[in-house]
Amino acid sequence: MTPRMFVFQLLGVLGLIVVLGLNIIIMDWWERKLIGHIHVRPGPMHTGFHGILQPFADMVKMLAKEDVVPTEADKLFFWAGPMIAVVPAFLAMVVLPLAPGFVLADIGHGLFFVFAMQTIMPFGFTLIGWAAHNKWSLVGGLRSAAQLISYEIPMLISALAVVMVAGSARLTDIVDAQATVWYVFKLPVAFALFLVTAVAEMNRTPFDMTEAESELVAGIHTEYAGMKFGLVMMAEYTAMLVGSWMIVLLFLGGWNLWPLPPSPLWVVLKVYLLQSFIVWLRGTYPRLRMDRIMELSWKYLIPAALANLLAVGVLVIVFKGF
């Protein structure tokens, strides 16, 4: 741990915060724009060029919006809940590489670390929902917690198939192993499972149980005003970024775009394409019912993921070069 290292890391963390902020700004605008176009309307238009300043305006407004704390709310977690939701998502970003070597902490268990961070999120959501002392929030929080914990397992198991084939959980290694053939082609089943579960982990339509606007007013953040609401949104957008980034790294070849030379640009491109796809899903589908969501995970996805894992295991043993 040299001082240079320390400064480097400090800068890296600052950079990540910028990425976090930039991502939410870009995605907020892009999502509204995209949904707008799906709805045959222009979306944000008159705040800056094609509404590009819209997220900034929202941000400024949220900063200057009163922070209502309900009398009966649990003061501590009403305040700390959004934090608990944001920080793990942010931490997960630390191990995600943009290019070989271009990563803050290229730890050997990068993949597992992301999942470990993701397990904290349901806890955060439960606390957010519980602290508000509001029935909608409570139901929303418990729902989202139940959903997140249910989808974590098939997600990890299908990711383990990748680990099995790549023989490493270091994300850079996994990407490098896809220099020619992306795992999406090698492991299509795992990819499909991972995609579905990742969308569920991001709490996006058709799995958007945290918000479930028509059912639970605004879900877990019913009581959260101003910046706290912004923070919850930030956590969700960051989770979306982390999730799509993971998919890109694990299955879509990361910075590889054969036959073009590898470049961090491809990662960014793929990540945002994927996020656009998720927004597109949101613009198309209704929401699944809660019990169907749970059933889907426990009755279909987990057995399927296990079967897939075993099948991949057999393949790896039988065909050494798989």
Partner: protein, 379 residues
């Protein structure tokens, strides 16, 4: 006397330790207006539901007693603000029956046309809310497209997008230009049908949507009849009850159309019936335009109408079911008593029977399927 303050009592079933009593509405994104539902939940299962209405009670029935018959049209428009022409027509029919007024031939066709167009817009609005209740908000925006087109037609011909005040005793306010009619005919024939096909693919064919609607809150015809449920909700149980055919008004008997039914009786059936009706209504409207005779649109009626003493009740197939208008006249220029039998009210009162035992997420699918308009329930 306003006996009850909004802070109403609790749901009656005794709460266990696990149950939460939840106020749904009146300010709730998908309560379709200012409905208030008190739900008792155990976990996420509805144990008991109690609709609380009256948040939009504007006293229309009482106000009508202080207005002349012609002036009441304004109130009738706002009774069920989603299918205004149906209300106006029902009211006109009642008054015409009471005062024995002839209706001009062309006006009957125009009335039929408008009633069917408004049925389309109403069903489209319901379609938006069905999507919205299930978390898909694109249908909401898409349904706006044909709605806007039809509203354009309404505005160009009657002067208002929503509150037309167009029907008059003995006819309609003024004639419609042929160009406008042709325009809407072309739209219905081509673009509208295409849009509907697309929308069908978007929602009706969606497996998620089907899985959320199928088998939900299944009711039988007997149940529906005993709860007084009418309209598409009744037809979805397989009962071909349609006052347009049964009560014989307008020019429906001269047109080629069918009552849309579905035998399943569940939420999906209610959905299907309404979607089919959207197409059927367009067919009726197109036929109206094609076969509309020329002529006067209004017969001579006294400026201040004073119907003879007596009472009248007409039944009318509004978008939501059987709309009844009851008027008692005492021979003066103002109705002595004006009463509305609201289809939405009957449909909503069936909800407490249908809801218990359902998952809270299903609550909205069922609730939306009833297609209620609070303005009509509360009056």
């Amino acid at each position: 006397m306003i006996a009850d303050h909004p802070r109403v009592g609790h749901v009656t079933t005794g709460g266990t330790t696990e149950s939460i009593v939840l106020n749904m509405g009146p300010q709730h994104p998908s309560m379709h207006g200012v409905m208030h539902m008190q739900l008792e939940l155990s976990g996420e299962t509805v144990l008991a539901a109690r609709p609380v209405i009256g948040y939009l009670h504007r006293g229309i029935e009482k106000l009508a007693e202080h207005r002349t018959y012609a002036q009441c049209m304004v109130l009738v428009d706002r009774l069920d603000y989603i299918s205004q022409y149906s209300n106006e027509w029902a009211y006109c029919r009642a008054v015409e029956k009471l005062a024995a007024i002839e209706v001009a031939e062309r006006a009957e066709w125009l009335r039929t046309l408008y009633a069917e167009l408004v049925r389309i817009t109403s069903h489209l609005l319901w379609w938006t809310s069905v999507g919205l209740d299930l978390g898909a908000f694109t249908p909401m925006i898409y349904a706006m497209l044909p709605r806007e087109r039809i509203f354009d037609f309404f505005e160009a011909t009657t002067g208002s997008r929503l509150m037309p005040n167009y029907l008059r005793f003995g006819g309609v306010k003024e004639d419609v230009e042929q160009a406008e009619l042709d325009g809407i005919h072309d739209y219905l024939a081509v673009d509208y049908m295409k849009l509907l096909d697309d929308y069908d693919t978007l929602l009706s064919g969606n497996e998620i949507f089907i899985s959320r609607q199928e088998g939900l809150a299944r009711i039988t015809t007997e149940q529906a009849v005993s709860w007084g449920v009418t309209g598409p909700m009744l037809r979805a149980t397989g009962c071909p009850r349609d006052l347009r055919k049964d009560a014989r008004y307008g020019v429906y008997d001269q047109l080629d159309w069918e009552t849309q039914t579905d035998t399943r009786g569940d939420a999906l059936a209610r959905y299907t019936v309404r979607v089919k009706e959207m197409r059927e209504s367009a067919r009726i409207a197109m036929q109206c335009i094609e076969r509309m005779p020329a002529g006067e649109v209004r017969t001579k009626v006294a400026k201040i109408l004073k119907p003879p003493e007596g009472e009248v009740y007409v039944r009318h197939e509004s978008t939501r079911g059987e709309l009844g208008i009851y008027i008692v006249s005492d021979g003066t220029a103002k109705p002595y008593r004006f009463r509305v039998h609201s289809p939405a009210f009957m449909n909503v009162s069936a909800l407490p029977h249908m809801l218990p035992g359902e998952h809270i997420a299903n609550f909205f699918a069922i609730f939306g399927g009833a297609d209620n308009v609070m303005a009509e329930i509360d009056r």
